[in-house]
């Protein structure tokens, strides 16, 4: 499947820039819907199916960087990057048989994340966004029926987050097992 060329899109929307690995586009949350509507309608892309919606959780981390401190010799500068939750969309065009157009939306901060929902435009996002809401805690505005998809209603925490600690309810096993906290 021939991949899309990103050129016309980046010209049309200058605030869109490629991500570290080069083949995806990072889009600010507030104008995601306008881009998606344009993609759906424009002759160049005609993305009529949203095949995959994924949530990825990035913890806040501290990285050292080569930097010049005040007297000019290079020293490591501690720079902490705030954590965020990234939602990755893979668009395909069945009409033109053209390859994936990967769009990433990043939230600022990791608690009570609110992102625009693509469900009014693509019905396939319905269950996938519900799953991201269930496992990552991203609240999608505009989703018609946002509730937990896989976990039971009264479950509070978001299990797929990197900092999730699973409850220690391992079954009683009277053998030397390595499940830490097992009653053995």
């Amino acid at each position: 499947m021939k991949p899309f060329d990103i050129q016309p899109l980046t010209q049309r929307f200058p605030f869109v820039h490629a991500d570290a690995f080069g083949n995806a586009l990072i889009v600010p949350a507030k104008n995601l819907v306008s881009i998606v509507e344009w993609i759906q309608a424009s002759r160049l892309y005609l993305c009529d199916t949203l095949s995959n919606v994924t949530g990825v959780d990035f913890l806040p981390k501290v990285i050292e960087e080569e930097g010049k401190d005040s007297e000019g010799n290079s020293v490591k500068i501690k720079k902490n990057i705030p954590g965020y939750i990234e939602v990755v969309y893979h668009f395909y065009s069945i009409e033109l048989k053209r390859g994936p157009l990967t769009i990433k939306v990043r939230s600022n901060g990791r608690d009570n994340v609110r992102l625009p929902s693509l469900m009014p435009h693509y019905r396939s996002a319905e269950f996938q966004e519900r799953e991201i809401f269930d496992l990552y805690g991203v609240y999608f505005e505009g989703h018609y029926d946002l509730r937990r998809l896989l976990m039971w209603e009264s479950f509070e925490d978001f299990p797929m987050r990197k900092d999730y600690v699973p409850p220690n309810d391992n079954e009683y096993e009277p053998i030397a097992s390595r499940h830490s906290g097992g009653d053995a």
Binding site: D48, T54, V56, H90, K97, Y122, A125, Y144, R148, M160
Partner: protein, 382 residues
């Protein structure tokens, strides 16, 4: 062509039932024909469905969180448990994505064996669907047992090649685990030659049957635009007439060497979806014949480091699994374990329109529509 089909406007109007109390039935997780653990809360007016709310999660094992703690190689046996009816196509999708991520090449013979195994799995899956579909229609066991009789022969081949009938764990990154002997290829040839007789027997038994026709034609009609918009893939999409088969469009692995045809339906109702599977089985037979004819000799796995540490990056690989587009999205941060491991489940996404297809039909039709969508709960709940 803005195809935003909002959620509220549906092609049937919901009759507001103020006076009549609706019978609310939970076609619950423990129901003979929900193909596993799946619950539909159904509001019935007499026998007609007014509202249907699907509930998932009864078989949720959080497969993706497990994969984040294990190495790439240790997750392979768990991919068998995703769509446990066609375990080797799951392995193939996962292996394809990791090969794309760590750009590992695959030798010729391994590619051919992967295509043979993939098409045999497609036969197994479509046979089971057709058998269970007719069993939901009410024929107690006979068509299902004819399908299972043929499936046994293919499962024996799987056991002979990989050691296990269903949980084969047979594919590795860059090839397959063990080579298949020539007797295996010979008996596979014999099976492929004998298979069309089973299909003709099935055609004679079912496709002309007036009861099957009257019960499944015109039931659960799915329009082309709604199907594309709802991300439906696989035979269910092609039954509505959309020509989208990843083996042709993506032509991943060596599918461009085989000439085979892709059947397309006309109305997109349950009968088309049922017939599509029968016609696709015949196409898989042609692919198998060509693959078995010109399979080369040679090594079966390229050199791969025992503990795979791909460089940081991401990859989205997808194949045409018997149920639809099965995709794996892997993000690696250079360590031994994948940073994010996501499975795009065709069964879950094909279920998006279950509510739209069933409203307005009878109680018995929901079972047929649900059966024709062909889902496996292992893949829906992961």
């Amino acid at each position: 062509m803005n195809t935003s089909t909002g959620y509220a406007p549906r092609n049937y109007k919901i009759v507001k039932h103020k006076d009549k109390t609706l019978l609310e039935v939970a076609m619950g997780p423990h129901h003979p024909s929900t193909h596993g653990v799946f619950r539909m809360d159904v509001k019935l007016d007499g026998e007609t469905i007014i509202d249907l709310i699907p509930y998932f999660g009864y078989l949720h094992r959080n497969h993706e969180k497990l994969a984040e703690d294990m190495t790439y190689f240790s997750t392979m046996p768990y991919t068998d448990r995703l769509d446990y009816l066609c375990s080797m196509t799951n392995n193939w999708a996962y292996a394809l994505t990791v090969e794309k991520l760590a750009n590992i090449s695959v030798p010729e013979r391994a590619e051919y064996i992967r295509v043979i195994i993939g098409e045999l799995t497609r036969l197994v899956n479509h046979m089971l669907l057709v058998g269970f579909y007719i069993n939901d229609l009410g024929a107690i066991g006979t068509p299902l047992l004819y399908a299972l009789r043929e499936r046994e022969k293919i499962l024996d081949l799987f056991e002979w090649a990989s050691g296990a009938r269903m949980m084969c764990n047979y594919l590795r990154f860059g090839g397959i685990r063990e080579d298949v002997s020539d007797e295996w290829l010979a008996s596979c040839n014999k099976l492929v030659d004998a298979f069309p007789y089973f299909l003709d027997e099935y055609d004679q038994l079912l496709t002309g049957n007036e009861i099957v026709i009257s019960r499944s034609q015109g039931v659960g009609v799915l329009s082309k635009e709604l199907a594309i918009n709802a991300g439906i893939t696989g035979p269910m999409l092609r039954a509505s007439g959309v020509n989208y088969d990843l083996r042709k469009t993506d032509s991943y692995s060596i599918y461009d060497r085989f000439n085979f045809r892709v059947p397309l339906g006309q109305f997109g109702d349950c009968y088309d979806r049922f017939m599509l599977r029968l016609l696709e089985m015949r196409e898989s037979i042609t692919i198998l014949k060509q693959a078995l004819r010109d399979i080369p000799k040679g090594e079966i796995q390229s050199k791969v480091p025992p503990v795979l540490k791909p460089k940081p990056g991401e990859a989205y690989g997808r194949i045409e699994s018997p149920k639809g587009e099965l995709g794996f999205y892997l993000v690696s941060d250079g360590s031994v374990n994948p940073y994010r491991y996501r499975v795009r489940p065709p069964s879950l996404i094909n279920l998006t329109l279950l509510r739209d297809l069933c409203i307005g039909h009878k109680l018995a039709d929901t079972i047929i529509i649900f059966g024709s969508i062909d889902i496996v709960l292992g893949e829906v709940d992961r």
